[in-house]
Symmetry: D3
Subunit: 190 residues, 6 copies
C-alpha cells in the first residue's frame, strides 16, 4: 500500500488538478508530516466536503480548549478502540505516542484503556467518552456531574462530548468506506 493507492474501497478519484489552496494544504502536510493523511485524500473528490471536514477537525482537535491536544487524541483512540476502527487507531494511536512520548500509553489506549495508569480526571474523561460511544442514550446528568466533580467545566464537557462524538462519525466513515491509514503511522514514535 503506497500513498498513491486508492485511500478507500470507493471509486471516487481526487479532483485533478487540485485547487491551489488545497494543493498548498497537501504540500504543507507532506512537508510537516511526511505524508498527506489518507483521510484528506479520500475527501478530495469534492473540495467542499474536504473543507467542511477539515474545518471541523481543526476546530475540535487543534482549536482552543482546556483539553490538551494529547487528551483530545486520547479520546480519539478510546472511541476508535471501542469501534475497532483501523484507520483511526493507526493514525491517532501514533498521535498519542508522539504527544505523550510514551509508546506504552498509546498501546494501552488502543488495546484496553482501563489498564492505563491515569489520574482520576483523565480516567473520568475517557469513561465518559466510552459511555457516549457505547450507550449515548443512557448518559444522564449524574454522568456530567461526575466530570464536574473531577474539575471539568461545562465548556470542557462540551469539548469531551464533541471530540468523542466526532470520532464516532469518522470511525464510521472510515469503516464504511474501508479507508486505509498511511503505512507510515505503524512504525512512528515506537
Amino acid at each position: 500500500m503506497t500513498d498513491q493507492q486508492n485511500p478507500t474501497a470507493l471509486d471516487l478519484p481526487q479532483v485533478d488538478p487540485l485547487p491551489p489552496a488545497t494543493q498548498k494544504y497537501f504540500d504543507i502536510c507532506q512537508d510537516k508530516l511526511g505524508m498527506v493523511p489518507n483521510v484528506l485524500r479520500a475527501h478530495a473528490f469534492d473540495i467542499e466536503k474536504l473543507n467542511t471536514f477539515t474545518a471541523l477537525y481543526n476546530d475540535l482537535m487543534l482549536g482552543d480548549s482546556n483539553l490538551s491536544k494529547l487528551e483530545r487524541e486520547m479520546i480519539a483512540v478510546v472511541v476508535s478502540s471501542y469501534n475497532r476502527c483501523f484507520y483511526c487507531l493507526a493514525a491517532h494511536g501514533a498521535a498519542v505516542r508522539q504527544l505523550s512520548g510514551d509508546p506504552r500509553l498509546g498501546e494501552m489506549l488502543v488495546m484496553n484503556y482501563r489498564v492505563a495508569p491515569l489520574d482520576a480526571r483523565q480516567r473520568a474523561m475517557l469513561d465518559f467518552a466510552l459511555q457516549l460511544t457505547r450507550a449515548s442514550a443512557e448518559v444522564e446528568e449524574a454522568d456530567r456531574q461526575a466530570l464536574r466533580d473531577v474539575g471539568f467545566s461545562d465548556r470542557d464537557i462540551w469539548d469531551i462530548a464533541n471530540v468523542a462524538a466526532f470520532f464516532n462519525m469518522t470511525n464510521r466513515v472510515a469503516s464504511g468506506t474501508a479507508m486505509v491509514p498511511n503505512d507510515d503511522y505503524h512504525a512512528q514514535y515506537r
Copy 2:
C-alpha cells in the same frame, strides 16, 4: 420549555450580541421554520463551532447528492432511533413527515424501520446505515456491494455512509449535553 430556555444542560450562554451574519441566519430560521432550532442555539456560545457545524450539516443534508433530501432524513431517523436520541428523533422525525407527506412513515422510522413498506433500494440504504451505526467494524466489501446491487453508485455509498456517520456524531452531542428539541417539532406534520 420555550425557545428562550437553555437548549442543553450545560451552562454555555450564547454570544451576546450575535455577530450580524449569525443573527441574520437565525432570523431566516425564525422566518422560514418558525423557530431557531435548538441545535444552532446550543452551538452559538462559540461562533466558529456553530459555523463548522452548520457548514458540514448543510453540505451533507442540503447539498448535491443522488440521495433525495427525504432519503437523507430517513437515514437520520433510523440512526437516531437505534441511538435513542430524543433531539434528533423529534427534529428529523418531523422532517420525514414533512418531506414524505406520510406521518405514518415518520412514525415507523422512529419506532422500527423494518415495518415500513420500503422498496429494496431504500431498505438496503437503511440496513447499511443501521449496520454502520451498530457495528461499523463489521462492514465489509460485501455490504458495499449490496448497495451497488440495488443501484447505488460509489458516490451514493459515500453519501449514505457520511449521513449515517454524521448522525452518530450529533446523536452523541445531543445526548451528551441533554439537548432538548424545540417543542414545535412534536405536533408538526401529523
Copy 3:
C-alpha cells in the same frame, strides 16, 4: 391501511358472524374509541383466545391498582420502546398523550424515557420495568427494595412487574405476526 385490512401478516380470518357478545364489544369500541383496535380484530379468529386476552388486558390495565391508568400506560410504552414494537408504541403512545394531556411526555417515553422529567417514584417504576424487560434474570431483592424505598407496596410491585411482563408478551405477539396499529392512533392527542 384501513380497518378493513388484515390486522396481521397471517391469514386468520375473523369469525363471521361474530358471536353477539363479541359484536357488542366491538360496537362499543367503535362508539367510544372510533375504531376497533386491531389487536382485538387479530384475535377474533378464535373467540376463546380473544376473551382470554381481553380479560387479562382489562384486569391489568383497567382493574383496581394503586398505579394510575397513566402509569400503567407509561410502563407499556417504555417496555415497547425497548422492544421497538410498532403496534404497541403507536397505540399506547397515544394513550399516554391522552391520559397525561402532555404530547411531549408521550414522545419522550417512545424515544428515550430517561429524558423525561419524572419524579423519583415514576422513574424507579420505569427503571424496574426496563430492567425486567432487558435482563429479567438479573432482578434481585435489592431491585424490589428500591421500589419499596420510593413508596411502592408489594402489591404495587406485583402490578409493575405484571404490566411490564404483559407488554413483553404483546410486543412479541405483535412483532411476530406483523400486527399493524390502526392508523388513527398516529394523529391522536398531538
Copy 4:
C-alpha cells in the same frame, strides 16, 4: 423450601379461605400433580388475577393446536432458557422430560437447545421462538415464511408466537417476584 412457604418474595397472602371453585381447582392439582404449582399460589392473593392467568395458560398450553403439548413445552423451555428463569425452567423442564420420556432432551433444551437432535420442523419452531424472545423487532416476513416452508400453517405460527410470547411474560413475572418452583420438579422424570 416447602409448599407452605411464600411462593414469591412479595408479601401477598393468599385469599383465605379460597373461594370454593378455586379450592376445588387446587385440590385437583394436588391430586393429579401431587402439588399446587407455586405460580397458582402466587396469584391467589387475587382470584380474578388467578383466573385470567389460568384461562390464558390453559388455552395456550392445553387447548386445541396443531402443536403437540410437548412442542409447546419445548418452546416454554427454550424461551425460559434464554431468559434464565429458574421457576419456568424447573417446571417446564420437568414437563418436557415427562411428555417426551427423554430426560436428556429436557436437559438439552434447558442448557442449549442447539445441541438437541431435532428435525427441521421443530428446530425452525424453536429458532423462531428464540428470535422472538431475543430480538422481536427484527422478525420479518422471511422468518414467518421459513416456518411455512417446513410445514407450519399461519394458525401454527400464531400458536408458536403466542406460546413464546406468553413465556416471555411469565419469565418476567417469576423473576420480578422471585417466584420459587415447587421442589418436587427437580427430581421428576429423570
Copy 5:
C-alpha cells in the same frame, strides 16, 4: 448415545491400543466413576494432548487450594451456564449435586445462580467468575478488592480467576467440537 460413540463431531479416533499408563487411568475412571468421561476420550487421539489437559485439570480442580472442591465446581457451572455449554453443565452440574448433596443448588447454578441462597463470600466468588467470563477486560482492582473484602486471599483470587478461565477454555473446546457428555451424568445425584 453410548460411551462407545464418538465423543465429538470430529473424526479423531482414539489411539489404539492406548498406552498402558493411559489405559490404566481410563480403567480407574471406569471403576471409580462408572464411566470414562468423554472429555478424556475426546483428547485420546493424541496422548500428549490428553496428558497436558488432565495435568492442568487435576491441578486446578483437585489440587491444593483454599477453595473447596465444591466451590471450584460451582465456578465451573456458573461459567458454563453463561456460555451455555451442554457438556460442562451436564458433567459439572452433576458434580455440584454430588459434592453439595443439594440437587436444588445444582439446578439453580445451571439455570441462574442469582437465585441461590449463597453467603456473601460465595456470591462474590461467583460474581467475579461471571464478570471474568462476560467482560474480562472490565475487571479492575476494585473487583479484586471486593474479593479480599469478603475474606479471599490473593492466592484465592488466583485460584478463582484460573478456575473460571479454565472453563472458558473447556466450554469452547466442547462447543467447538460438539462434545457430548456421558449420558450417565443426567440422572446422577438427583
Copy 6:
C-alpha cells in the same frame, strides 16, 4: 515497569530460589527472547502451576500441527482483540509481527482483523475463532463444515478450536490478575 516488578496485581511472590529446572528454563528465555515473559514469572509462585501451564502452551503453540506457528499466533491475537486483553495483545501482537515480517498485519489483527487481506482459508479460521470466542454455544456443524470446505481437516479444526479456547483462558487469567506484559514487546518487530 521493569521485569523485576510484580507481573500481576496479586501478592504472590516467586518461589525463591527457583528449582534448577525452572531457573534453567528462565535462563533460556532470557538468552533467546531477551526477557522472561511475565506470564511465566506470574505462575512461578507455584512450580506445578507453571509446569502445567507451559506444557499446555508448548503443546498447542509449538507442537505438531498443520497450522503454522504464525497462524496459531494470528488466532491468539484475534481472540485477545475481542477480549481486549492488554497482556496477550502486546505479547502475541509482537509474535505476529515477528513471524509474518509484516508489522501492518500485526496491527490489523490487533485492531480489526476484518481489514486484513487474508486468503479464504485464514479468514475462515479467524472467523471460527471469533465465533467460538463470542458465542461458543452457537457453533454448529455448519460452522465446522465451513472450515472443511476451505481445506481444513478435522484435526485442524481441533487445533483451531483449542488454540482459540486456550487464549480465552489466558486472556481471563491475565485480565483477572492485571498481568502486565514485558515492556520490550511494544517496540519489537515494528
